[in-house]
């Protein structure tokens, strides 16, 4: 029976990235994927004739340029296109347009609130400063602060140096920032509630926290630290959908001699004498490997596809208590035409960007209260994008599809398990919210895919449908991700590694987790490092 050099469990974008780097280093690698298609949560599927949804993740700004460039993903078909403009809908018809250029944006904000228009400069500057520090860590393995190994000490010194370089005042601010709520953080800058709410939106996306919960300020940062070609905070679409990212990485992997097997779910990671030796597939087939890399989240890995007996004491419990609560849903809608939003000018730049339906800070907090009580809010936070307005390849000409990200949606309902009826009622709530701002919206709907945490977990495998593979709170970041002591991609079992977003630097379609993990594997094999370590080049 063949023994692979490495088997990677899960063909999400990080697993594929990991495999591509191992294959390029000459390893014989196989990626096994439970679904009949690849991509994990960076996936695009045609569920209605002519419409290609990005079924889970829908925009991209974290993708590491260094990896895109190094794996030559453009040659493998990947083109990332930035999109412009956002419209924010408040309560009672209040709305705000965000323009893509600084001058237009300033004029718009000034008309609404001159104080906030000025404060926006300081806000963006501060966020960029914080983001810059985090960005420097993205393609680096977190140091173990308890280790005396020269490498860990050196890395701690690097972090310390970067941190001290912020200056005295900013160090205080930075520490506050990590434990603040998005709402408190924004109170330092803005007066206008809708501006605050608009800026707070990224602080709750994908997280079981409210705008007023401590820790949500960091989530906000995590969402704005990406960039498209150096424009920090800009967002892009992958031409052909988010699945194009996975497909391009898969193509790079295959070019390097790696293989992918779909319809090959892993039932168990095989462990012998404390060493990972392969996997057993759902079909019962066993595959041997010198290295096993899990791209599944930490909770699923240790509680679902491993035997508790195979794990050192305490790991199972750590995994069971890993914070990976489901809090969001997704509705993908095929439309016969472009929705018309009341009071929004027919302007090609703002009509073709994104929309955020958020009400106010209070509306968002109330939606969180509903989540805590095991139900979804009648007035949810919805972030939408119409990718077809930018990408001619994802819908028939003149028709469109709309991606709706919904916060919050509980993984478990107070009134019993999810049913198809409840799922559809959740979808109707989202559609009603949009209809409020775009009368006639419902008449445009040709097809809708409604995904609650239940569907996302069942299909993609993310525990509770958590988009980040584990929440991005300080107790689960950097050297604490996924667990203290296991942040360097090596798992408690010998020859077993983790490559997914449960590891540093966390969620987002960045390829960083998979790349960092590959670097550590090559290091253990005594191979030369071929994984980029630097993506910030003197920002």
């Amino acid at each position: 029976m063949k023994t692979y050099d490495a088997i990677i469990i899960g063909a999400g974008h990080n697993g594929l990235t990991n495999a591509a780097y191992l294959a390029r280093a000459g390893l014989d690698v196989l990626v096994v994927e439970k679904n009949e298609y690849i991509g994990g949560a960076a996936v695009s599927r045609e569920l209605h004739d002519g419409f290609t949804y990005s079924n889970c993740s829908y925009v991209c700004s974290m993708m590491r340029q260094a990896i895109h460039r190094d794996l030559n993903l453009t040659k493998h078909g990947l083109v990332l296109v930035p999109y412009l403009g956002t419209v924010t809908f408040g309560n009672d018809g209040d709305k705000m347009i965000s323009y893509a250029t600084e001058e237009a944006e300033y004029n718009q904000l000034r008309a609404r609130n001159p104080h906030d228009a000025d404060a926006m400069f300081r806000f963006q500057t501060d966020l960029s400063r914080y983001a810059q520090l985090i960005r420097k860590t993205l393609l680096r393995t977190p140091p173990d602060p308890t280790s005396m190994k020269p490498r860990d000490i050196k890395e701690m010194m690097f972090l310390g140096k970067e941190f001290w370089a912020l200056g005295e005042q900013e160090i205080y601010e930075y520490i506050r920032f990590f434990t603040m709520s998005a709402s408190e953080f924004l109170d330092d800058y803005f007066e206008d509630d809708l501006i605050k709410a608009a800026m707070a939106g990224p602080g709750i996306i994908g997280t079981a926290l409210g705008v007023k919960s401590p820790g949500s300020a960091y989530i906000l940062l995590h969402h704005v630290m990406g960039d498209v070609d150096g424009n920090i905070g800009a967002w892009g679409l992958a031409r052909g959908g988010m699945g194009a990212i996975s497909k391009a990485i898969a193509s790079a992997l295959e070019e390097a001699g790696g293989a992918i097997r779909t319809d090959a779910g892993v039932e168990k990671i095989l462990v012998k004498n404390g060493t990972a030796v392969g996997v057993r597939l759902d079909s019962g087939e066993e595959l041997k490997a010198k290295i096993v890399v899990t791209n599944l989240d930490a909770k699923r890995t240790f509680t679902k596809v491993m035997d508790k007996e195979d794990l050192p004491p305490g790991i199972y419990e750590k995994a069971k208590n890993f914070k990976i609560r489901g809090s969001s849903g997704k509705v993908n809608i095929a439309l016969s035409g472009m929705p018309k939003f009341t009071g929004i000018p027919d302007n090609r730049y703002i009509n073709r960007g994104g929309q955020t339906f958020l009400g106010s800070i209070d509306t968002m907090e109330k939606a969180y209260d509903c989540w805590k009580r095991g139900r979804w809010s009648d007035d949810p936070f919805v972030e939408t994008v119409i990718p077809s307005a930018w990408d001619p390849t994802v819908a028939p000409p003149g028709q469109h599809w709309m991606s709706c990200f919904v916060q919050y949606c509980p993984a478990e309902l107070a009134d019993g398990p999810w049913t198809p009826e409840k799922r559809d009622a959740f979808g109707a709530t989202v559609i009603n919210r949009i209809e409020r701002e775009a009368p006639g919206f419902k008449d445009l709907i040709l097809h809708a895919e409604i995904r609650t945490p239940h569907e996302i977990e069942a299909e993609v495998g993310l525990t509770e449908g958590n988009i980040f593979q584990g929440e991005l709170t300080i107790d689960q970041l950097l050297f604490n991700r996924p667990f203290p002591g296991y942040a360097q991609y090596r798992m408690p079992i010998k020859n077993m590694y983790m490559s997914g977003s449960s590891t540093h630097p966390g969620g987002g379609v960045s390829s960083a987790c998979g790349a960092n993990s590959a670097r550590e594997i090559l290091r253990d094999l005594g191979r030369k490092n071929t994984v980029p370590e630097d993506d910030f080049y003197d920002e």
Binding site: V81, P82, D229
Partner: protein, 396 residues
């Protein structure tokens, strides 16, 4: 009231009315006396329209000459370095023409519109050179059509689809460098599969009185395909990715060059393939033969440069310590689509086999810094999608 500044003002393009309405930033520059958009909204956005959807670029200011008569072919063949006799009806060819010393006067395209009828297009006014080149040929008429033809460069992956929606029959069968004619209102639309972006694209030629009507028809057809006007900045990005040269960037027009040999030969610009020594005498032939045999002192090359700082106006060195200066960058940018730091550079040919280092100066919040980055030679254009050459074009 008469405008006392009337004579100072720039000419307006045949498409001005529509373009001005979309020029939200009032970002105008000029080209050959025409008011001309540097960008309309955002240069990078417009660049992405060309790479992702489609865009129009105003080429009304480009110079266009009809050269006709029984001697037209012989005259052009004598003037340019390529063999014009090989050019078939309804085909276009890229050419350059040189002084007797083999230095490039300009580059451009020749359209063969019929027997004894050609159109030459180029960036700079060339009437004087054409007249001079026709000396001794009896039956050749040169007509400056620059202001008499309205034209748009229409570029990007969805262009063929948009043209199909204008009911241009069999447009998908048009091959690169081919020409087709279609009736439009009371006139004729000429479509050539040409452009300056390295992508799928066409150039659209129409009588000036139909310009606005045609614009409206094109924009109506293109609405679902991301149509957008783009300006000089986006063009410059796209052409650099395609590896195309620009006057005043890669070459200094010979007739405008003061210093001895500060202009360029086709071989220096890596355009040796444009020079056809199999044909009889042409302007600059003898000098170019010598140049071919000894090899050019400098060669224009494509560079992939480490890091992400554009190597604008950088010097190129043969060593990391930057003691041996061997060339200079002519154009540089971060390529958003390729995700690479790309440049064109003129480098002393004899050093091309060795190491290449660029000394890059850049600014971070006013503070000046520099870095030395390793350069890798690239043979092929940075961006050359298969759809640009395929007939029928691949689905967008």
């Amino acid at each position: 009231m008469t405008d006392p500044f009337a004579g100072e003002r720039l000419k307006l393009s045949h498409f001005h009315e529509r373009q001005a309405a979309l020029n939200l930033r009032n970002a105008w520059s000029s080209w050959n006396g025409y008011q001309f958009a540097e960008y309309y909204f955002d240069a990078e956005f417009e660049y992405f329209c060309v790479r992702n959807g489609c865009g129009t670029y105003d080429i009304c200011p480009m110079q266009k000459y009809y050269i006709s008569g029984p001697d037209a072919e012989a005259m052009l063949d004598r003037m340019v370095t390529r063999d014009v006799k090989k050019l078939k009806n309804n085909r276009v060819t890229y050419v350059c023409w040189c002084t007797d010393e083999g230095r490039i006067v300009d580059d451009g395209t020749i359209f063969k519109l019929g027997n004894d009828k050609y159109m030459l297009t180029c960036g700079s006014p060339s009437l004087a050179w054409l007249k001079q080149s026709s000396f001794g040929y009896k039956d050749v008429v040169i007509e400056d059509m620059s202001d008499k033809i309205a034209a748009l460069s229409f570029q990007g992956p969805t262009t063929c689809e948009v043209l199909k929606r204008l009911n241009l029959e069999a447009i998908e069968t048009l091959k690169p460098f081919g020409i087709m004619h279609f009736p439009f209102k009371d006139g004729t639309l000429m479509v050539s599969r040409t452009g300056f972006t390295g992508d799928l694209g066409y150039e659209l030629w129409i009588e000036p009185h139909l310009a606005i009507e045609f614009w409206d028809a094109l924009y109506a057809a293109g609405d679902d395909f991301g149509i957008q006007p783009y300006g000089e900045s986006a063009t410059n990005m796209a052409r650099l990715e395609a590896g195309f040269i620009m006057p005043d960037m890669e070459f200094n027009e010979a007739l405008k060059t003061i210093h001895y040999q500060f202009d360029q030969t086709p071989f220096e610009l890596d355009l040796g393939w444009l020079v056809d020594f199999k044909k009889p005498h042409f302007n600059g032939r003898r000098a170019l033969l010598t140049e071919r045999d000894k090899g050019p002192d400098y060669t224009l090359v494509k560079l992939d440069i480490e890091g992400n700082k554009p190597a604008e106006e950088s010097y190129i060195y043969s060593n990391k310590s930057c003691t041996k200066h061997i060339g200079y960058v002519t154009s540089a940018m971060w390529s958003p689509v390729v995700k690479a730091n790309i440049a064109l550079a003129m480098i002393e040919t004899k050093y091309l086999d060795g190491e290449l280092w660029a000394e890059i100066y850049y600014e971070k919040e006013l503070r000046q810094s520099s870095k030395v980055a390793r350069c890798t030679l690239k043979k092929k254009p940075f961006w050359a999608p298969a759809r640009a050459r395929a007939t029928p074009p691949h689905p967008y």
